[in-house]
C-alpha cells in the first residue's frame, strides 16, 4: 500500500475567531477590574478570595487568554493576555475556539455553556463559582439588556438592581475600563 496517498494533515487556524475572542477577553478583563471598584456585590465576592489569587480565562489549547490577579490592595487587576511567568491558581478554559465564539457571540449563555461542559476548570471550585458570578455581574453592566439576557441566567429586574444604579454603575465601569489604564496594560503586554 502506498501510504503517501493518505497524507498527514496539520489543521490550520481560525484567525478571525481568535482575534474576536481576544478582544472580548480584553474587554471582559477590564470590565471585571472596573466592576470590582464599582459594584458592592463584586467587592464582597472579591473580599472572600485569597490575596495574590490569580486566575486566567481563555480558550484551550492555544489561547487567547486573560489573566486577573487580586492585588495586595484587595482589588482585582487585569494583567493582560500573557500567562507566562504567572502562577495561575484557577485556570478556566473554554474547550475550543468554536465554543468560545458561540459564548462570546451570546448564542450560549455562560451558565448554559458551563452546563454543556464547554469550560474545563482546573483549580478550586468555590473560587471558580465566585469568578463566574463576577463575570455575570460584569456582563450585566457591560452589555445592553437585550444581549445580557442571553448571556446570564436571570437578568435582574428593577427591584433587584434599580435602573438608576445600573446606568450610573455602567457608566463608571465603561469609563474605568477604557481609561488610560487600558493603554498601559496593552503596552505592558506587547
Amino acid at each position: 500500500m502506498n501510504i503517501d496517498r493518505y497524507p498527514e494533515i496539520r489543521p490550520g487556524k481560525k484567525v478571525f475567531k481568535k482575534a474576536y475572542a481576544f478582544v472580548v477577553l480584553l474587554v471582559v478583563g477590564r470590565g471585571i477590574e472596573a466592576a470590582d471598584r464599582v459594584d458592592g456585590e463584586v467587592k464582597d465576592i472579591v473580599r472572600g478570595l485569597p490575596e495574590g489569587f490569580t486566575f486566567s480565562l481563555g480558550v484551550a489549547p492555544s489561547g487567547p487568554w486573560m489573566v486577573i490577579r487580586k492585588e495586595k490592595s484587595g482589588k482585582l487587576r487585569y494583567l493582560g493576555w500573557r500567562r507566562f511567568g504567572k502562577t495561575i491558581e484557577l485556570d478556566m478554559a473554554i474547550r475550543n475556539i468554536e465554543a468560545a465564539f458561540r459564548i462570546f457571540t451570546f448564542r450560549e449563555s455562560t451558565a448554559q455553556a458551563h452546563n454543556n461542559g464547554r469550560f474545563s476548570v482546573n483549580g478550586n471550585l468555590p473560587n471558580a463559582l465566585a469568578i463566574m458570578r463576577i463575570m455575570d455581574i460584569a456582563e450585566i453592566y457591560l452589555l445592553p439588556k437585550i444581549i445580557a439576557t442571553l448571556a446570564v441566567k436571570r437578568y435582574p429586574d428593577r427591584r433587584e438592581l434599580p435602573p438608576g444604579r445600573k446606568h450610573f454603575n455602567r457608566l463608571r465601569i465603561y469609563l474605568r475600563a477604557f481609561s488610560p489604564g487600558l493603554f498601559r496594560v496593552v503596552y505592558r503586554n506587547l
Binding site: Q112, H114, N115, N116, V121, P126, L129, R154, Y155
Partner: protein
C-alpha cells in the same frame, strides 16, 4: 420533547441486576482480565454480614487478594493512600467496593492511586491526570440512593487543608454495578426512606435542570416510577426483595441521569445544610425536594408537570389539568414524606425545623440559615439550576423549608 441544542451523555457502567446478580461477578470480572480483586468496604457493612454474603456469592470464582474494611464515615485521602498500599502489597488487580457513597468514593480514589501508581493521592490532583483506563472496579451499593455506582466523580477529603478534592473523569465510572437485593436487606427503614428520597431528588432534578436531555429524561422518569411504586412497600416490609431490587434499580438509573444532567437547588441547599449542620444527605433531600420543584416551576412548568405522570401514575396525571400538574407533583412528594414520617415513627423528618440531634436539640437552628444561604454560592449545584440562586433566594427557600410551609411563589425573583 424539547431537544437541547447540545448535550452529551455517558454512562458506560455495565449494570447487572437481579436476585442472584452477585453470582455473575466472577465471570464478568474474569472477562475484564481480573484474577485477584481486593474488597473495599467499611466496618458497618462488614458487621452486617454483607461481606460474607458477597464472598459466598463469588466463592471459587476469584481469588480474593485482600479485604480492606478500614474506611471511616469521614474518609479522607490518607485512607485512600492506606488502601492503595494494601492493594499493591497484596498484588491485587481490581477492586470490589461494597458499601454506600463514602466507600464507593474511597474505592474510586484507591483505584486512581493503584492504577496510576504513586504513594499518595495528593500527587494525582489536577485536571488531566487521569487519561487512561484504570484497573477494573466493581461496585456493589448497599444503599439505594447515592447513585455513586453510576457517577464519574470521586470526592475525597483533605482534612489537613480542610478541602475536598474533586476527581472528575469518565475513567472513574465503575466497570460493573451490581444491583442485588441481598445487599440492602439490612438497611433500617428510615435509611431506606431517606436514601430513596435522595434517588428521587436525583431523578426529579435531572428532569428539570439545565442539562436535561432525552436519555437522562427517560432514565429519570423510570426511576421516579420505580420509587413511587416501591418505596412504601420496601419501608413497610424490608423483606420484600422485589421492592428493594426496584429501589436499587431506581437509584442506579437516577444516578446515571443526574451524573449527566446534574442537579440544582435541592442539592445546592442540601449540600450546605449537610455540611454546616451535619444532617444526613438523604434527610435534606427529602425535605428540600418539593421546594426545588416549586422554585423552578415558572422556568420548567411542562417538565415538572410531567414528573407527575411517573410520580402518581397516568390516571391522576390525566385527571389533573395541565396548569395544575406541577403543584400536584409537589403535593405528591409532600404526601410521600408524610407517609414515610408516619411509617418510620417520626424518624423521617418533614421540615428542617423538625430535625433533631441525638440529644434532642434542633439540628438546624433557624439562626444558621443566613450562614447556610451565604455558603450556597460556593456549591457547584447552583449552576445547573434553571433559575438563578443568590444568597437571598436561598435564604427565602430555607425559611420556608425550615417551617415546613409551601413556598410563597410571589417571593421568587424571576428577573426582568
Amino acid at each position: 420533547m424539547t431537544m437541547p441544542a447540545y448535550y452529551d451523555f455517558c454512562s458506560r457502567v455495565k449494570t447487572i441486576s437481579g436476585e442472584n446478580a452477585m453470582e455473575k461477578i466472577p465471570g464478568l470480572l474474569k472477562g475484564l482480565g481480573v484474577r485477584r480483586p481486593m474488597i473495599v468496604t467499611d466496618r458497618g457493612v462488614e458487621a452486617a454480614g454483607l461481606i460474607d454474603t458477597v464472598t459466598e456469592a463469588i466463592d471459587g470464582g476469584l481469588d480474593i487478594g485482600a479485604i480492606y474494611a478500614d474506611i471511616p464515615v469521614d474518609s479522607d485521602y490518607r485512607v485512600v493512600d492506606d488502601g492503595a498500599a494494601v492493594y499493591q502489597n497484596n498484588r491485587c488487580d481490581a477492586i470490589i467496593a461494597v458499601g454506600g457513597g463514602s466507600v464507593i468514593d474511597t474505592a474510586k480514589g484507591i483505584n486512581i492511586l493503584a492504577s496510576l501508581g504513586g504513594k499518595s493521592l495528593l500527587g494525582c490532583q489536577g485536571a488531566g491526570t487521569i487519561r487512561r483506563k484504570l484497573n477494573p472496579l466493581a461496585v456493589l451499593p448497599t444503599t439505594s440512593g447515592t447513585g455513586s455506582e453510576m457517577t464519574l466523580v470521586a470526592v475525597i477529603a483533605d482534612t489537613e487543608r480542610q478541602e475536598k478534592m474533586l476527581f472528575v473523569s469518565h475513567f472513574l465510572l465503575p466497570d460493573l454495578a451490581v444491583l442485588d437485593p441481598r445487599l440492602t436487606r439490612t438497611l433500617p427503614d428510615f435509611l431506606t426512606s431517606q436514601t430513596a428520597m435522595d434517588a428521587l431528588a436525583h431523578a426529579c432534578e435531572s428532569y428539570y435542570c439545565m442539562e436535561k436531555n432525552p436519555v437522562s429524561d427517560a432514565l429519570a422518569l423510570r426511576a421516579i416510577s420505580l420509587i413511587s411504586e416501591h418505596l412504601l412497600p420496601a419501608v413497610r416490609n424490608p423483606a420484600e426483595t422485589s421492592a428493594r431490587l426496584a429501589l436499587a434499580n431506581a437509584s442506579a438509573m437516577a444516578g446515571a441521569a443526574f451524573s449527566n444532567s446534574m442537579v440544582g437547588l435541592v442539592h445546592n441547599l442540601g449540600h450546605v445544610v449537610g455540611a454546616v449542620c451535619h444532617v444526613p444527605h438523604g434527610t435534606c433531600m427529602s425535605i428540600l425536594l418539593p421546594y426545588g420543584l416549586e422554585y423552578n416551576t415558572h422556568r420548567r412548568e411542562k417538565a415538572i408537570g410531567e414528573i407527575l405522570f411517573s410520580l402518581a401514575g397516568p390516571e391522576i396525571y390525566a385527571k389533573t389539568p395541565e396548569k395544575a400538574r406541577p403543584d400536584k407533583a409537589v403535593e405528591q412528594i409532600r404526601m410521600l414524606n408524610e407517609d414515610l414520617h408516619n411509617i418510620t415513627g417520626g424518624k423521617h423528618p418533614r421540615f428542617l425545623g423538625e430535625i433533631r440531634n441525638k440529644d434532642g436539640t434542633p439540628a438546624v437552628p433557624r439562626s444558621a440559615l443566613p450562614e447556610i444561604a451565604r455558603k450556597t454560592m460556593a456549591d457547584g449545584a447552583r449552576l445547573p439550576n434553571p433559575e438563578e440562586i443568590l444568597p437571598e433566594d436561598a435564604l427565602m427557600v430555607l425559611e420556608h423549608a425550615w417551617a415546613g410551609i409551601h413556598l410563597d411563589r410571589s417571593r421568587i425573583r424571576k428577573g426582568a
